[in-house]
Subunit: 336 residues, 2 copies
Amino acid sequence: MAGNGRATLEDVARLAGVSRATASRAVRGVAPVSEANQESVRRAVAELGYVPNRAARSLVTRRTDTIAVVVPEPDSRIFSDPFFAATVAGVVETLEETAHQVVLLMRSRGGGTERLADYLEGNHADGVVVISHHREDHLPAMIGRSGIPAAFVGRPITTVPSLQYADVDNRAGGRMAAEYLATTGSRTVAAVAGPLDMAAAVDRLEGWREGLANAGLDNTIWYEGDFTVATARALAARILRERPEVDGILAASDLTASGVLTALHAAGRAVPGDVRVVGFDDSPVALETDPPLTTVTNPGRELAAAATRMVLAALDGRPFPAPVILQPRLVVRGSA
Amino acid sequence: MAGNGRATLEDVARLAGVSRATASRAVRGVAPVSEANQESVRRAVAELGYVPNRAARSLVTRRTDTIAVVVPEPDSRIFSDPFFAATVAGVVETLEETAHQVVLLMRSRGGGTERLADYLEGNHADGVVVISHHREDHLPAMIGRSGIPAAFVGRPITTVPSLQYADVDNRAGGRMAAEYLATTGSRTVAAVAGPLDMAAAVDRLEGWREGLANAGLDNTIWYEGDFTVATARALAARILRERPEVDGILAASDLTASGVLTALHAAGRAVPGDVRVVGFDDSPVALETDPPLTTVTNPGRELAAAATRMVLAALDGRPFPAPVILQPRLVVRGSA
DNA sequence: CTGAAAGCGCTTACAG
DNA sequence: CTGAAAGCGCTTACAG
């Protein structure tokens, strides 16, 4: 056994009475190796508690068996949004099955995205899944330059050909939400959008406006937010001041909707009696608010799993032909 | 240059006109190497865009320059708690400076913690920071067995000698919260605890009960929760049913408190008029509720940074002598 | 189906 | 301060 107490493939081979090459093949389960040798190697591995040395393997295979999850957000609060939490879980779960390790890359506080670029260009990961991408992080270009297999959770806001992603049809979702409010009685509908440097925010806003226009309602009352509760509250309060006649509010996320609800409560407006509210995400938050949220589905876990599988596919040399777009559903609960 | 287009140390050495050994020393910035050679290596590195191969380095140094963040939770919703989000950010930030990569290890859904054990015992990481640890994950024992340098964010619930951790003094924090309610007028105080398989929940509950006893109040009205909003709501509703005379509620976290607030609103109880509420964490949530929360500080980011530095110190062979315990403060806002 | 040999890209005694 | 050489622990043609 090696000096430091950890068994090497050499030890396994010796104990099993085979060559290192055969031991290597048996350990990895790649043909061809006789049943008898397979068995003795298996036994030797168990007895020695052998675990392959990742670095040694990586050095020759030129793969790191590492996928980076890139969260180009300077602010950790992003995690507090259940959508992103689900997203991270989706990546981790999918990669568990393939024995890839998941490296977490965040944007440094106050810093830019250079560190991300260095990491990616350093070939430290085989592939990357990008979560929560904003226009000015320039991730699509950076990734294109590095040539690393990648997929985005959510459409990249910069259109780059060949860039893979998985997304929900946010525009259709927005349309559904708006048309629902319109067809069930709301006459004056305002919207609290997400940050317009993110594709999801842009697409939902477009969908809302389309839906309201289709229903013959004014679609010009909207405010740009940032997916946080605090901003949503402030904007909702402002809406009530500036447009007291509003009887419906479209929120860019469930977290946004919960902020809207708080503002409505504080102003003494009943929900859904006076003002009806529709969220987006169908996250656990939708069940925790009072009343529970009518919202649009946006399955973060599945989207992340799909994006991860895209990266895995690219690594296998069989890239996906097209983005994965999931159709959203409207879930009606108490808020509208 | 290497066949695959990436420069190796060999290429750098050749271009700089030095040996590989000298190039290696210059790249790492370890003495001794002459100024002239330092400069030519620097130039060669820049020209070739050289980045050291992590695997090759790791193979000889026997370090991976990787720290694992272990989140032994089967449920990704844990991330949605701003405290944990802050904690992850604290680790990532601290490790940015040292060029360690951060591997994210979660417990598999429905599965146990064997995968975590395999990973740790496989020497894939140099050290580990544990976040959100429960009694039955057996992480302290597992880590003891593997011998890997580790630190917990939050006191491990199983007392193991030499185990390092950073925590806030949860008991003192609980006491402060309870005594504050008692000395400012609450007569019947109930508590919504966290899950009692976590040390933070146990310690806060003890602190509350001590504080209430010190003030001569009944300290037997408490319910075990799980740090989620939904459970907190249900328990608060139950408290109002079973103990309608309650005029103060101690919540195990800000998220818990927000659930309590929702239940109180739904029941038509004014806060702080009828019932006063104190949270724990002083997270962003405390500013988002209505009214904003009176709460106890629990700086997740700093605790995580401290735990991370403990691991780093252990890797340098200078382990911390004792756990880091931060003193909490009570922050008075609108809810009590 | 199997093994001897080369080689992945580094770091680190060692000798000078 | 510098360089030649060994070696970290694997995988992979290649030949048999």
